[in-house]
């Protein structure tokens, strides 16, 4: 699989099965983020294919795959001018899921009730990250792709991430997470893909 001028990996099939968590590690700039974006369908690789097998059918089309993933990363944001509740309600309506799914997730994410209805612009970076993570789980996607999910979170926030991940994986979902935190690698990793620039 190649992107830009670089070969991300050659001659590899990576099989990720239901209920698995894959940790992607590597120094900055080695391709972790690009890899996740290729999986999400945000970036088109120069070569290589991604296949998704949902059990009852296979998904080859990128457009469909995009809607099957819950992606959270530093360059996917929510609207500053809207509140967390409004942001999630908007995304919920786009996804065709009920609007209160968002409110539940915000509660689990530990976002203070008092701030839920204020514009995201007024949030701290940790709160903003919680909103992003909640947004990525909004439609209960089978595939979760997180890029450095706990980067700006305190211990309580990391607990939330742990719990959400556990729930998701126990339900049969797949998670691919990019991180360099050694504790997380230990705690979460079933399998590990390391990019060695």
């Amino acid at each position: 699989m190649a992107y830009g001028g670089t070969t991300l990996f050659a001659g590899v099939t990576v099989d990720i099965r239901a209920g698995q968590r894959v940790i992607v590690t590597g120094a900055n700039g080695t391709g972790k983020t690009t890899f996740l974006k290729i999986l999400a369908g945000l970036v088109r690789p120069a070569s290589g294919r991604v296949e998704v097998d949902l059990g009852n059918r296979k998904v080859d089309d990128v457009g469909e795959r995009r809607r099957l993933v819950g992606y959270a990363g530093p360059d996917v944001n929510v609207y500053d001018e809207l509140s967390a509740v409004e942001n999630l309600a908007f995304l919920a309506r786009l996804r065709g899921v009920p609007a209160d799914a968002g409110i539940d997730l915000l509660k689990k994410a530990g976002l203070k009730r008092s701030k839920q209805n204020h514009p995201v612009r007024t949030y701290s970076s940790g709160m903003r990250q919680r909103v992003r993570l909640a947004a990525s789980l909004l439609s209960a996607p089978p595939i979760v792709l997180w890029d450095e999910p706990t980067a700006m979170l305190d211990a309580e926030g990391r607990g939330f991430v742990d719990n959400m991940l556990k729930d998701h994986v126990e339900a049969g979902g797949v998670a691919v997470i990019a991180t360099n935190d050694p504790a997380e690698i230990d705690r979460w990793g079933d399998r590990r893909i390391h990019f060695d620039g």
């Binding site: 099939t13 945000l42 088109r44 296949e51 995009r66 099957l68 996917v76 908007f90 049969g172 979902g173």
Partner: protein
């Protein structure tokens, strides 16, 4: 540490999702409408686009009128002036729909959630609202500061509507392109959209001049211009819908 066995150049994700449903997406129309509503809501809170566009319109019309106050100005010239103001006011505000989203990182979120053409449609609706608002501000101002006697409004208003639609359709598509460039976006927006807008501008000015002229043959020609503006609008909207996917996704 053991290595996983290696075979071919493919990537395969296998999920047997028991409890996890396949997420549905809302209908295309719902997506487009929701994006439009969201843009309106955000705009009403910040007033950036509306403010800059309205301010541009007011200052330009007033300055033009002041500069031309002594001299008699032919009606054809006024017809051209009004469209110049509309064009540049549009250029100052229509790119915002995409540029702000790309710069804030919210565009990526839209790419994952809504179909590409629905995003275009939603943004087009917003830009249409913006264009019609500019027209609603500029035209009355014009009639106050640079009055034109005997305007055939039954010709002029369709020209404004058809021309405004063509302007919004083309400008929205170009905005999506230049929002993904690295720098010099405003200048680039003008350079890239102007050739495409040339036919629109020419038909609109000719038709407007006809509506102002009080001459029967020119007024008749203005009807043809309305037809051309409508065709232009249809062609540009269709071309945008067909090509938008290539501009929006990687």
């Amino acid at each position: 540490m053991t290595d996983v066995s290696i075979s071919t150049d493919e990537q395969k994700l296998d999920t047997t999702a028991a409890r996890l449903n396949e997420p549905k997406t809302a209908s295309w129309v719902t997506c487009a409408w929701e994006i439009f509503r969201k843009d309106i809501r955000v705009e009403l809170r910040t007033r950036y686009a509306l403010g800059s566009v309205a301010l541009f319109s007011v200052t330009t019309v007033v300055m033009m009128a002041a500069a031309l106050s002594g001299a008699p100005v032919k009606t054809e010239v006024k017809a051209a002036l009004i469209w110049v103001v509309l064009l540049f006011a549009a250029l100052s505000g229509l790119a915002r729909a995409f540029v702000r989203e790309e710069e804030a990182g919210t565009a990526q979120s839209l790419r994952l959630t809504a179909p590409a053409t629905a995003v275009y449609a939603g943004k087009l609706l917003f830009n249409l609202a913006l264009v019609f608002t500019v027209e609603a501000i500029t035209v009355p101002l014009f009639s106050v500061f640079m009055p034109i006697p005997g305007v055939r409004y039954d010709l002029f208003i369709p020209i404004l509507i058809a021309g405004g639609w063509g302007l919004a359709a083309a400008a929205t598509f170009v905005a999506a392109m230049i929002a993904q460039t690295t720098s010099g976006k405003s200048a680039l927006f003008a350079i890239v959209s102007f050739p495409v807008l040339m036919p629109l501008l020419m038909a609109a000015v000719q038709g407007t001049a006809g509506a102002f002229s009080q001459v029967a043959t020119f007024e008749a020609r203005a009807l043809a211009d309305i037809g051309q503006l409508s065709i232009y609008g249809v062609v540009m909207t269709t071309a945008s819908l067909l090509l938008f996917e290539y501009v929006w996704h990687d």
